[in-house]
């Protein structure tokens, strides 16, 4: 595709801190290259704001290569913007045309309170992981590779679930602010492997309890999470999580 430049109108959510109300502000950026990433476009905006003596827009980012899950922006009505299976940092400006107006909002969920502008606090996800998203192992000698046979299909499904980068787009997309796609990815990736089996029941119980405590909503299988997930985590993981939970609650003490 041909390289071009564009002028854009940005409608960006500005909010001083968790307590303040926040509002949309309009900005104009000019001469943006179609080869820039969305975050580079924001860098241009921020340099402009700093030059004008204004407060730059705060946003989360780290790897800028689609693997850390930090870059949370809700762009024109979709988490991570218009492309499929993509993170905000990997969204390129060729997704837009000269003269476009782009609306950028933070993830909206009470469990993800806004820290400042577009940056939200996603530590709720960390606490869900702490509640059981791990396996307890004795660290002795490293075992031989392939000492524990694992069916290829299972390993593939587990890997696919382990792709989740904990970005929170599923919560942002969901009408119920449910974290079930995230949780189901974490539970599935361990439930599918023999290493995850010993703590299988307590894991799902504790992680669901923590998810509820953090104030996420209940899943109603609408599928918005799967449609926006940058790592294409399948919604069938949610059904697997439901099964894990049902089995655990039927057989737990």
């Amino acid at each position: 595709m041909e390289h071009y430049h564009m002028n854009l109108n940005l409608k960006v959510w500005r909010q001083k801190n968790n307590q303040s109300k926040g509002e949309f502000k309009l900005y104009r950026v000019e001469n943006i290259s179609s080869e820039m990433s969305f975050l580079e476009m924001f860098d241009v905006l921020n340099e402009q704001l700093i030059r004008d003596g204004e407060d730059p827009v705060t946003f989360d980012h780290d790897c800028r290569e689609g693997i850390c899950g930090a870059c949370s922006m809700y762009i024109n009505g979709k988490p991570h913007g218009p492309w499929q299976a993509n993170t905000t940092c990997q969204l390129h400006m060729r997704a837009f045309k000269d003269g476009d107006t782009i609306v950028v909002e933070p993830w909206r969920a009470n469990a993800f309170p806004v820290i400042k502008d577009l940056m939200v606090d996603r530590s709720a996800f960390d606490r869900i992981i702490q509640a059981g998203g791990y396996i307890s192992v004795n660290t002795g000698n490293a075992v031989d590779g392939n000492a524990l046979p694992i069916e290829k299909d299972k390993a593939d499904s587990s890997f696919a679930a382990a792709m989740c980068i904990g970005c929170g787009a599923c919560v942002a997309a969901c009408k119920n602010s449910s974290a079930m796609l995230f949780l189901s990815a974490k539970v599935s990736h361990l439930a599918l492997l023999p290493q995850g089996a010993p703590e299988r029941k307590t894991r799902v119980m504790n992680m669901v309890a923590q998810m509820d405590k953090e104030g996420f909503g209940a899943c109603t299988n609408t599928g918005a999470c799967e449609a926006t997930c940058p790592k294409e985590i399948s919604i069938s993981n949610i059904a697997r999580l439901n099964q894990e939970y049902l089995m655990a609650s039927l057989t737990a003490e």
Binding site: K11, G22, F24, Y74, N76, G77, K78, P79, V103, E105, R108, A109, N110, A111, A173, K175, N176, S177, S178, M180, M205, V208, A209, M211, D212, G215, F216, G217, A218, C219, T220, N221, T222, G223, A224, C225, E226, A227, T228, I235, S236, N237, I238, A239, R240, L241, N242, Q243, E244, Y245, L246, M247, A248, S249, A252, E253
Partner: protein, 222 residues
């Protein structure tokens, strides 16, 4: 982990929705099947036999209590879910995300409310008068076939019934497949099958129901 903890958790609440939803789906099959007797077109003879049995025999009367419990649980839990889920996002989006999911999957509370309003009207047409007379022996058994004829000779009643059936169709278009996912069916081959059966069911069953008032209105059955 106590049962109480299970059923007040977000996943447990959905289990109640799924189980009661499937129970109500089974009820719909029975209800549609019995009422289809009107198309025997025998002046209501076969239908009245069936209706007499359902209203007078103690087996369906006991099952009916289960049906009420199912409905009440489903409706109560449905509203609880809808209200609680809405509270999880105090500040909404300026631009809604509507591409990722079907409108009817996001409108289960609204569709359920339409079904509920329809149900209240439907029960006051048939269930209440019939139960007070036949069930509690307060009067002579009502000829439900004649009652259908009278009610369904009014155009607006027929239209409201059809709207009720359309609401049910969309509720089931999402609800049928969702219920099985909620109960933990994650195998691809079953899910594919259940999605197709679900769409089939949500078209055919409400259509059968809608055809009843329509058949009476246009005097296809006498």
């Amino acid at each position: 982990m106590t049962w109480k903890q299970v059923f007040i958790s977000s996943v447990g609440k959905k289990l109640v929705m799924g189980l009661t939803g499937i129970f109500l789906i089974l009820f719909l099959i029975v209800h549609a099947g019995l009422n289809a007797c009107i198309w025997a077109n025998d002046g209501g003879e076969m239908f009245l036999h069936a209706a007499h049995f359902m209203g007078g025999n103690w087996v369906p009367r006991i099952l009916e209590i289960g049906l009420f419990v199912g409905f009440i649980l489903h409706i109560y839990q449905g509203y609880l879910l809808t209200v609680e889920n809405r509270k999880k996002r105090s500040v909404g989006y300026a631009v809604a995300y509507s591409d990722g999911s079907k409108w009817y999957s996001r409108s289960m509370g609204l569709l359920g409310t339409l079904i509920l309003l329809f149900l209240i009207m439907h029960m006051s047409h048939f269930w209440f008068p019939n139960r007070s007379n036949q069930g509690f022996l307060l009067g002579p058994e009502i000829n439900l076939y004649e009652k259908m004829k009278t009610e369904f000779s009014v155009l607006w009643v027929v239209i409201v019934y059809v709207i009720g059936c359309i609401s049910l169709a969309y509720h089931l278009a999402h609800g049928f497949q969702s219920a099985f996912k909620t109960l933990g069916v994650h195998n691809k081959k079953y899910n594919k099958m259940l999605v197709s059966i679900g769409y089939g069911f949500s078209v055919i069953v409400p259509l059968v129901f809608a055809m009843m008032p329509i058949s009476f209105y246009f005097k296809w059955i006498q």
